[in-house]
């Protein structure tokens, strides 16, 4: 699975969590740029990603993320070493 594949799957997770099938994410997307990205939806995103890719995050990892691009990179790293 390459980064583009991961990106597409993560985009669908965002669309499901925010209940908006037109939502488009980019690497620079953040909680400030996406409506309703609050703390509960953030947990929903992380749980959705963990389930989709069968990976686990630590609190330090997820709190260090600055934008979607870093999130994708972290997923890519975990998927490659799994």
């Amino acid at each position: 699975m390459n980064r583009n594949n991961i990106f597409e799957k993560v985009q669908q997770i965002f669309r499901d969590v925010f209940d908006n099938q037109k939502l488009t994410i980019v690497d620079s997307s953040t909680a400030e740029s996406i409506d309703d990205w609050d703390s509960l939806n953030h947990i929903n995103l992380i749980v959705g990603i963990e389930k989709e890719f069968d990976i686990k995050f630590s609190l330090n990892e997820v709190t260090a993320l600055k934008d979607v691009g870093e999130m994708i990179n972290l997923i890519n790293h975990k998927v490659q070493i799994a």
Partner: protein, 138 residues
């Protein structure tokens, strides 16, 4: 009341309890919610519309999901994050319900668990299903 902390819990942990629906529960829920729809308060109307009797409020039945997480799984340290509920069959006064929940996912980063829950009646028919997200605090 259970006092499970996140680190005590594991996948497939489960809890269950029974409850009988009473007339008082129906009256209290009608008072609290203000929902006096005839399906819930008028026996003749309910029967005319194809039900055995007055239909118990779906959200009254669902209130036992609150007891499930707040008292049993995980108990004291629960903070309900969200719940998706489906109503499968009508419930009537006098029904004996079994409320069952099982942990299907644990998120360590945010100390959140997911509980797949079902409520079955005395005939072992599923009357409601729910996917519950619960955080743990303290």
């Amino acid at each position: 009341m259970k006092t499970h902390q996140f680190h005590d819990l594991k996948l497939n942990d489960s809890e269950a309890f029974n409850v009988i629906i009473t007339e008082k529960m129906m009256a209290d829920f009608c008072l609290i919610s203000g929902d006096n729809n005839p399906l819930h308060v008028d026996e003749a109307y309910a029967i005319e519309n194809g039900f055995e009797n007055r239909v118990v409020y779906g959200l009254l039945v669902s209130s036992f999901y609150s007891r499930l997480v707040g008292r049993h799984l995980p108990g004291k340290h629960a903070l309900l994050h969200g719940i998706d509920i489906a109503f499968k069959k009508p419930v009537y006064v006098g029904d004996c319900l079994t409320v069952y929940g099982e942990i299907t996912h644990l998120n360590a980063a945010y100390q959140q668990i997911e509980v797949q829950a079902t409520i079955t009646n005395q005939e072992n028919l599923v009357v409601s299903k729910a996917k519950i997200k619960v955080g743990l605090h303290g």
